[in-house]
Amino acid sequence: MPEEKQVIESNEFNRREFFVKLGLGSLSIAACGTAVFAYQFLSPNVLFEPSPIVNAGKPGSYPEDSVTLDVNSGIYLIHAKEGFFALSAVCTHLGCLTAWKPELGIIACPCHGSKFKRDGEKIEGPAPKPLPWLRTWVSDEGDLMVDRSVTVRPMEFVRV
């Protein structure tokens, strides 16, 4: 009965196949581990970047109806009739630093021509979103503080 014998052989435990599978399996586990290792290695755990919290000084130094750009921290401090607010000066398109144009009363980006109103609302240009409002408060020392990492809803003015 040669046919019967063949069936038995195919069901037999195949040592070579087992070791091949074991080898490939451990190699793929090692490959996944290497990918995780590489990702973790390439992500720095400590960053030497400026703090997101900025001290903008005394509110009295900003005259009413003024827009002041702090180039180093990339924020506008605006003293409107309703109160103070801080706006991110980083264009929502590709991250260039925008500029306040007092003669036109708008914020404009030099890179690709996006234009915004003084309250961050988009007028035109490739920018997909308005300039975000940043969390602003008055410290115990009476200084205006801005947290660049926290955005708030527009029209939340700080009164001093």
Binding site: L42, P44, E49, H93, L94, G95, C111
Partner: protein, 263 residues
């Protein structure tokens, strides 16, 4: 009888030292000349014989060769510039200015590097247009076109990473814009941005990462794929020339054209 320079050269080629380096032996027979190609590590990738037409100006315009030439200039001048350049925030810009105004021949080497980089990007595109319009990407060379696309990307990444190294306003804002384009990738965009810059801002980590990419990782990738590219030219039947198109392909093209005409 006085010896000619040729006699001296033949004598040199007969010495034991020469024979230990070039084992092909002396003489200009076809066998010896073939061995000279086969037994040279740089030339053995190539066929021992090619048609004269294949290496002629008319067949290539030398665009690929010129691209490779600019690459060699960039490697040599780049290594020399590395001797005076520190990839650190306080020094990078000053080192670039020193290369322009203080280092002997620094201005020449920096400009050579810069102009060759511009020329390389231009030549890569010219080479690709030439290959495309002459139809040299068609079988059996279609895989070499893919290798060429990889080399195009490596060239553009080399240009992009090198753009940051002068550490001036142009460099800073160009990389800010470019890295923000990367963060437009769906789902992983911000992660790619963070890994690329080694932080959230174009800063010391970004400068160092771009330096390592520009001076080590990308040039080695380029060399690897250039070697494959050149090897494939010969293995895929040599440089493309209209007359060398295999008869079977020409017949197939004619057949499909005839079939279309019949419909």
């Amino acid at each position: 009888m006085a010896k000619t320079i040729g006699n001296y050269f033949d004598e040199l080629r007969g010495t034991r030292v020469w024979r230990s380096v070039f084992r092909g032996g002396t003489g200009s027979s076809t066998l010896r000349r073939s061995l000279a190609i086969q037994q040279n590590v740089f030339l053995h990738l190539f066929s021992t014989k090619v048609r004269r037409r294949m290496v002629g100006l008319s067949a290539t315009w030398y665009l690929g060769t010129l691209t490779f030439g600019t690459f060699l200039i960039l490697v040599v001048t780049g290594i020399l510039l590395m001797l005076y350049y520190h990839p650190s925030v306080p020094q990078a810009y000053a080192d670039m200015k020193d290369l322009q105004f203080v280092v002997s021949s620094g201005l020449f080497l920096r400009n050579l590097h810069r102009w060759s980089a511009h020329a390389m990007v231009f030549l890569v595109f010219a080479h690709m247009f030439k290959v495309f319009y002459r139809g040299a990407y068609r079988p059996p060379r279609e895989f070499n076109w893919v290798i060429g696309i990889i080399l195009l990307l490596v060239t553009l990444f080399l240009s992009y990473t090198g753009y940051l190294l002068p550490w001036d306003q142009l460099a800073f804002w160009a990389i800010t814009v470019g890295s923000n384009i990367a963060s437009a990738v769906p789902l992983f965009g911000n992660k790619i941005h963070f890994l690329m810059l080694g932080g959230n801002l174009v800063n010391a980590n970004a400068l160092l990462r771009f330096y390592v990419l520009h001076c080590m990782i990308l040039p080695l990738t380029a060399i690897l794929f250039i070697a494959i590219h050149f090897w494939r030219i010969r293995k895929d039947g040599g440089l493309y020339a209209q007359q060398s198109e295999p008869k079977t392909l020409a017949a197939r093209a004619a057949g499909s054209a005839a079939a279309k005409g019949a419909q």
